[in-house]
Symmetry: C2
Subunit: 455 residues, 2 copies
Amino acid sequence: MADNTLKYNLPETSIPKSWYNISADLPEPLAPVLHPGTGQPIGPEDLAPLFPMALIGQEVSVEREIEIPDPVRDIYRMWRPTPLYRARRLEKALGTPAKIFYKYEGVSPGGSHKPNSAVAQAFYNKEEGVTKLCTETGAGQWGSSLALAGSFFDIDVKIYMVRVSFDQKPYRKALMQTYGATCVASPSNETEAGRVILAQDPNTSGSLGIAISEAVEVAAKSDDTNYALGSVLNHVLLHQSVIGREAIEQMAMADAYPDVVIGCAGGGSNFAGLAFPFLGEMLKGGPAIKAIAIEPAACPTMTRGSFAYDYGDTAHLTPLVKMYTLGASFVPPGFHSGGLRYHGMSPLVSHLKQLGLVEARSYHQTKCFQDGVAFARTEGIVPAPESTHAVHAAIEEALIAKRDGQEKTILFNLSGHGHFDMAAYMDFFDGNLEDMDYDAAELERSLSELPDISS
Amino acid sequence: MADNTLKYNLPETSIPKSWYNISADLPEPLAPVLHPGTGQPIGPEDLAPLFPMALIGQEVSVEREIEIPDPVRDIYRMWRPTPLYRARRLEKALGTPAKIFYKYEGVSPGGSHKPNSAVAQAFYNKEEGVTKLCTETGAGQWGSSLALAGSFFDIDVKIYMVRVSFDQKPYRKALMQTYGATCVASPSNETEAGRVILAQDPNTSGSLGIAISEAVEVAAKSDDTNYALGSVLNHVLLHQSVIGREAIEQMAMADAYPDVVIGCAGGGSNFAGLAFPFLGEMLKGGPAIKAIAIEPAACPTMTRGSFAYDYGDTAHLTPLVKMYTLGASFVPPGFHSGGLRYHGMSPLVSHLKQLGLVEARSYHQTKCFQDGVAFARTEGIVPAPESTHAVHAAIEEALIAKRDGQEKTILFNLSGHGHFDMAAYMDFFDGNLEDMDYDAAELERSLSELPDISS
């Protein structure tokens, strides 16, 4: 009988025992991280007010395999290994000869891939005696996930949620509260950074850059509070490598290997989580893949931004990292994929893009929602607005394969479900959802403010 | 090494090949279903305007094993077999010697057990050439599931959603729309039944009984439209038996067998889905279990109702069935578990209760939400408000085991997640969620209207 399997499940014992660190296999090393005051490369001590030493060590490590602590694997078991699906019904609806696979991270309690790093970060902070964490969140996937992780490790979690998403997605706040965390809209009056922004524009929709400033400020000023970031940083992408590691094993179960690997990219963590292990295989001499990062046309970091040193936040509290950026003061329009509204991009993803190992595309939101609905009606799962960008790219690739009569194998990351984002689907059905573009003048202004680093 | 497994997963090939029909093993047969006009037992032709013959056949079948058609199993594969979890973190938090297991049906695309029957019903209707289905829904779990099933079988689905839930849960409507269905608040002006009720009370919160009347009326008056019911009927409970069948195999993997099996009960389908296969084992000489159906104190069908012939709907369009009932005109208060707001109870569950094989308990909602939150903080999953009733009962049983030093094994059905019900959790956290009781005078009135059937 021909293999007709729909979902490829692995047993608990197949949860990876180590994370894969692509820094070990880079053709060229990353540019150093610079101190915002001195412009000189930072050392571990510069990050110590914000992060536990274990995570700082992971941030700069070039070891290929980093062991996953047992207590972290023990919690991963609650939802990992996540299923890999063959999208047979979607393939049939498209009439494509392409095979479409997707890794579904929405089975986690938080509803996305984000708990993979949240649990690890909470664990290392707890190990070093930290009792409070603060963070930012866009659409709320990361905030909910850190709230969940905090409940498992008995850590108080405070979340600054970008105003536009806070207003669009009230259920996300309720979820964070259910997990015992506190969530406030950002910019808030609780921080210096927030008050400055509010004084300039009391009606601002907020941005991830602003919310990061608020959370970093609180952590930096407090002895018992650390900061946690849900994407961008090397250690976050490292933790997400469990996605791709499992997918490699599952694709082998399906007797297949991807030609194309797709993920949406805000800070880059779900894209990297799936793609880096496959890119690692390629860098070590394995099969070639095309890795495509999808971003929104309204916040086109890699497709319209500069590859330059910039701050990770609006108030310039973070170190300077070399990345694709739209400028730290760039405020994107209030489109629905709150998780993709970041001005920068992970230095690792940016570096690989610069090296030609990652391709970037940007899409408007309407056609992403259209394909999100088509996906729901064939595969059953309602994708998060962010994930619809990956769905659209996969469908685009499958239709190219159809046109060209190619038997291509496409793998994408369905990074989360849209259960908390149904207001966006309501807007879509009611005709209230428009394509949005970045403001070209706003981009020119924010890029003109990039720090002048001669390296 | 001691077994430390958290979730027991079965492969796609372990999806049951047949449904289990408890009617084959009943110590006494069910009372006949009576025609609402004549008071005489109905025949298949009386139901033909509403249901396809295949489902009418299942409704009266006493065959123990009823084969699941391949196209239905093919769709079940999208989420089945569902995981069985050992609630190790909850056990630890409670300090109980009891083992707590739960079958998690929230992994389905609709978010609950409801697609198990929706897909089967859509299939049989499609086989018999039906192109339109109409139905009612309470909290929206059933409506979303039939919408999903309709999208798979290309059937137009129209849903009458109880007004109070329609207003409380706008995202549910969006989900049904995403799956291509149409959802309106009930009572509506679209039906005679709805117009009569609205004329009496324009501000009514609605009820499942009213919504059923509307959907039945539309189906009865139309040639191309059938009716579908999400619970109560024998064939619905039959379809849900996949839950318990899988659980029996998974409990064996865990080298355990339940002493207590728990489910919340509105119409009875998720409770029966889990409990009937275990009760069937008992009836065939297998191990004894205590099967406990949990209902809301505000709609206490089995704990406060009469065991009598009654109509399934408010407008008296359905046949008369013998069941526990609060009276077909009973309108419960607008508490948050919309799926438990039905005036009646499945004839099969009622019959087993009457025979002493099923126990019923009723709880107020505040303590259910409290335990729902405790569950979310230990097990990660946010239960649907309906399912918190089962969670509370499982915790109650586990604490009794702790008090008595018993090593009891508890199994409950976590019938759905609460992602679309977060407004209820918001009310809980904001202190706006109150315990609600049924109105005793209202109950006396509605019970006084029970039809006078001398059998």
